[in-house]
């Protein structure tokens, strides 16, 4: 069971982690992109958090949708529409809820992933955030279906995201800015996969502490 308070804690933790990892994400983006992913995520979440106070009264679905809309209208770049769509769809999946069952947590992330796939049309192995998000959502769903505690299930999602993130290193990018590099994109970890891993990690730490 995840409460609205825990969802708010998750969003706070996400903001902290993106602020802390701003340089790290930007550094990754310098190697195969344009050196802005850290700034993008930090700017988006700081703004989203700022607006959160005005939506705190609302349900989890509305809160997440608002986060998504703020991300869309403050981030820009590839990650703005992608994470924006992620949170808007995630919110749509848990509309009207003030607390979430484990299955609803799965539905939340699964809907988010679907939004990203719809918006970005990337496939597994394209060296994008999808490479961390897909295995994480799969692991989460399987673990919850197998009866794991939410804590254990989220830990498996984090591990899968981390593995997916690391697995992007040898890949040649097929989508996003890194794809312009062709073969030269190999050997670098994808920044978006990294911010996705951080998203699951923050969920693990706040949903089932």
């Amino acid at each position: 069971m995840v409460t609205k308070q825990e969802v708010l804690a998750w969003l706070n933790a996400l903001t902290d982690t993106y602020n802390e990892n701003k340089q790290h994400l930007t550094k990754l983006d310098s190697a195969i992109g344009d050196a802005d992913h850290g700034g993008n995520m930090a700017r988006g979440f700081n703004k989203a958090l700022e607006k959160l106070s005005t939506t705190e009264e609302k349900d989890i679905g509305k809160i997440l949708k608002n986060i998504g809309m703020t991300l869309v209208s403050t981030v820009g770049g590839a990650s703005g529409p992608l994470y924006g769509t992620f949170y808007m769809r995630a919110g749509g999946a848990v509309e009207g809820k003030d607390e979430l069952t484990d299955e609803e947590v799965v539905a939340l992330f699964a809907a988010g992933l679907e939004g990203v796939l719809h918006r970005g049309k990337a496939e597994m192995g394209d060296k994008t955030m999808v490479d961390a998000m897909t295995p994480a959502v799969d692991a989460l769903r399987e673990a919850v279906e197998a009866g794991d505690s939410l804590g254990d299930a989220l830990q498996k999602a984090v591990d899968a995201a981390e593995q997916g993130m690391k697995d992007t290193i040898p890949l040649v990018a097929k989508k996003g800015r890194a794809s312009y590099l062709g073969e030269r994109s190999a050997g670098h970890q994808d920044p978006g996969a990294t911010s996705t891993y951080l998203m699951f990690k923050a969920a693990r730490e706040t949903f089932a502490p």
Binding site: S30, A35, G76
Partner: protein
């Protein structure tokens, strides 16, 4: 990082405030959300043209807003595509009843954000057509990737489509001309030094004292290859060859030759490149009937240059020659 800025987070806002103070005769600057729009927008009965993209490429796009070119430009953060609400507001502001063309550079972010904006505009009953510019031959193209980047041809498309809209062409026709420009243009760039994104605080990449990057992107994205610095004449040839290959130009063809500074390269070097470019094209029997030389699509203070060729026909030439009055491009008025 050495820049004439105050706070890295305020670079775009303060720049726009400067533009507003300097050019209120030509443009109106809206700060919530950011966009720059013709002072006389919307022009009734004219197709509106909106472009936009990350900041840091000045004068593109804000410098191209005005009579005969763009109706509005949406600047994102430095090297980050703008957001759908910017494009949506700009689209509404320039809609003169004949629909709005979005000129979009082919970057995942730009494409997705413009897509979302078009969905929003559609919801308000504004007809929007988007043309994606992808002229950068440094990128190996493929159906299964994000494709080629949009670079120098964007400037030419904005000028030419602006003229088409100004003479009264309808949206379908302006979009068709835009695609024609894109199909007939190809570009290739190179860098001697990196740029520094203000919020990153350090150079995006490091090049050795004797190195250059061939096929660089306008966001400091790495290019085709890093190699030893060569004389300008050789570099010109290295940039031109893949362009010629792509455009399949033949003897007797007429082109517009665009030699662009990445921001930190002085005019004197651009003309040394132009000299060799003209010689090489002359040898192949291709004539440069129009040219553009200067810093038009930049990458902050990056030193380097790009070449764009656009194959011309009578229609494109006429539209290129039409009057234009913007901050960074002016003729006939």
């Amino acid at each position: 990082m050495k820049k004439l800025i105050n706070d890295p987070d305020n670079v775009v806002r303060e720049e726009l405030e400067g533009v507003a103070l300097a050019h209120s005769d030509l443009v109106k600057v809206v700060l919530e959300p950011f966009y720059v729009v013709r002072a006389d927008a919307p022009v009734e009965g004219k197709v509106g043209i909106v472009s936009g993209g990350g900041s840091g490429h000045e004068p593109m796009h804000g410098g191209f807003v005005g009579m005969g070119m763009l109706d509005a430009a949406c600047p994102g953060e430095v090297f980050t595509s703008p957001t759908p609400d910017q494009m949506f507001e700009a689209t509404k502001a320039v809609n003169g009843g004949k629909g709005v063309l979005h000129i979009v550079k082919n970057y995942t972010g730009d494409v997705m954000n413009f897509e979302m904006a078009a969905e929003l505009a559609d919801g308000e009953g504004i007809e929007v057509e988007a043309v994606v510019i992808d002229d950068d031959v440094a990128v190996e193209d493929s159906l299964y990737t994000a494709g080629r980047r949009g670079v120098g041809a964007t400037v030419l498309a904005e000028k030419i489509c602006g003229a088409a809209a100004e003479r009264g062409d309808d949206l379908a026709k302006v979009a068709e001309i835009c695609r024609k420009v894109n199909d007939n243009a190809a570009s290739m760039g190179m860098a001697l030094t990196s740029c520094t994104v203000p919020s990153a605080g350090e150079p995006t990449f490091e090049l050795g004292e004797n190195e250059m990057e061939i096929g660089i992107g306008i966001h400091g994205e790495p290019g085709r290859k890093r190699m030893e610095l060569k004389p300008a004449d050789e570099i010109t040839e290295m940039l031109l060859d893949p362009i010629l290959e792509d455009l399949e130009l033949s003897e007797g063809d007429e082109v517009l030759a665009f030699v662009n500074s990445m921001g930190g390269t002085p005019d004197i070097e651009l003309y040394i490149i132009y000299r060799r470019l003209a010689q090489l094209l002359e040898e192949k029997g291709i004539s440069i009937t129009r040219n553009l030389i200067g810093a038009y699509i930049t990458s902050l203070e990056m030193q380097g240059a790009s070449i764009t060729l656009l194959k011309l026909d009578d229609e494109l030439t006429e539209l290129w020659d039409a009057p234009v009055h913007t901050i960074a491009m002016r003729k006939g008025i």
